[in-house]
Amino acid sequence: VFKRFVEIGRVAFISFGPHAGKLVAIVDVIDQNRALVDGPCSGVRRQAMPFKCMQLTDFVLKFPHSARQKCVRLAWEKENINEKWAATRWAKKIEAREKKAKMTDFDRYKVMKAKKMRNRIIKHEMKKLQRMASKKGKKPEKSEKPEKAEKAPKSAKVQKAQKAQK
């Protein structure tokens, strides 16, 4: 049922508080509510932090409990946590949310245009397939094709959104 556990070396994401949005490694457990925590590569000093503001990630580092910051840093850099984190969907969602909030009026317009274009392409393909299906009668081919057609315009839309940010 539970897959991520609080353990020494577990990398956690801080969800609120003064260090909101940063990654941290659990170095030791103080009591039921707090842990000694350190984020040498993410700008968090070694400190006690309540579990409530931490959200566990999938990453675990290998160092002994109460290891000093240097060891934590070595382990962090060896595992390349920063890059791995940026590659996760979680981090990407956060980034997308931030970008969306920062969108200016012009960007919103560009996104709207891109979405419109994409939806038009999709609808166009769908209609085509529907017409083919109705002409030829019921055939199993049509269920496979719309998925392929959707993925191609989707990437175009993501590119447009990224362009809009710049």
Binding site: A101, K102, M103, T104, D105, F106, Y109, K110, K113
Partner: protein, 292 residues
């Protein structure tokens, strides 16, 4: 100190003369002659006191006797004419002759320039309290939000062009913003907009080289109203400008400004379509959360 001893010191004298006048004369003459040779400034020779002293502070002759003895009836000096007095003398023209038309009228009349008041109120107007810093509108300080710079795209919020996105050109003397569509893009002409009723977006068009004609001022844009009824009512209400006509000058000014701006708009991708679109809110869109 000099006024305490009126008997001793005559006006203009330097030495308080206690001795008799006769003895003083030759000595003074010599001194004065020498001094004349030295300084040509002091040519005047001052007489000793004509009022011998009886006791300290008491002279032999009275005021009126001294007046006669000093022959002040002959000596009347006036103070030099000050600039204020000079100005007072130069009185402005009081009347002016104006030509009068019609036969047998003599051709001209002498008319007073400043006439007497035609009405005196029965009660005086009470004196107004002093106020401070109350300036007329023409002298007010005009401010401009930092987010509005030449070339910014603004969203108009009021007026017949509400919701339209428009390019800001400059701030006019009354503080209103000079704004253009451009006309070819969204049918907004060169127009004035109020700063308060406008959202400034962060999108900017580079308007650095654009020359805006100097005659585009507030007076150019002000609404014209005919006000000469000549005491005839009825038909006159129709002739007042109900239908606004676009003058040729407006068209030419619009062209002159827009041609420069359109070139710059075309360089930015999708900007033209952006200016053509209108701003609107929909479900889930909250203006306080939007970044413009």
């Amino acid at each position: 100190a000099s006024e305490k001893k009126p008997g001793e010191k005559a006006p203009g004298e330097k030495k308080p003369g206690k001795k008799k006048t006769g003895e003083k004369k030759p000595a003074e003459q010599k001194a004065s002659q020498r001094e004349v040779g030295e300084k040509k400034k002091r040519i005047k020779k001052y007489h000793a006191s004509r009022n011998p002293v009886l006791a300290r502070g008491i002279g032999r002759y009275s005021r009126s006797a001294m007046y006669a003895r000093k022959a002040l009836y002959k000596r009347k000096y006036t103070a030099p004419e000050t600039k204020i007095e000079k100005k007072k003398k130069e009185t402005p023209r009081a009347t002016i002759t104006k030509p009068v038309g019609g036969d047998k009228n003599g051709g001209s009349r002498v008319v007073k320039i400043r006439k007497m008041p035609r009405y005196y109120p029965t009660e005086d107007v009470p004196r107004k309290l002093l106020s401070h810093g109350k300036k007329p509108f023409s002298q007010h300080k005009r401010r401009l939000r930092a987010s509005i710079t030449p070339g910014t795209v603004l969203i108009l919020l009021t007026g017949r062009h509400r919701g339209k996105r428009v390019v800001f050109l400059k701030q006019l003397a009354t503080g209103l913003l000079l704004v253009t569509g451009p006309l070819a893009i969204n049918r907004v002409p060169l127009r004035r907009a109020h700063q308060k009723f406008v959202i400034a977006t962060s999108t900017k068009v580079d308007i650095s080289g654009v020359k805006i004609p100097k005659h585009l001022t507030d007076a150019y844009f002000k609404k014209k109203r005919l006000r000469k009824p000549k005491h005839q009512e009825g038909e006159i209400f129709d002739t007042e400008k109900e239908k606004y006509e676009i003058t040729e000058q407006r068209k030419s000014d619009q062209k002159a400004v827009d041609s420069q701006i359109l070139a710059r708009i075309k360089k930015v991708p999708q900007l033209r379509g952006y200016l053509r679109s209108t701003f609107c809110l929909s479900n889930g869109v909250y203006p306080h959360k939007l970044v413009f």
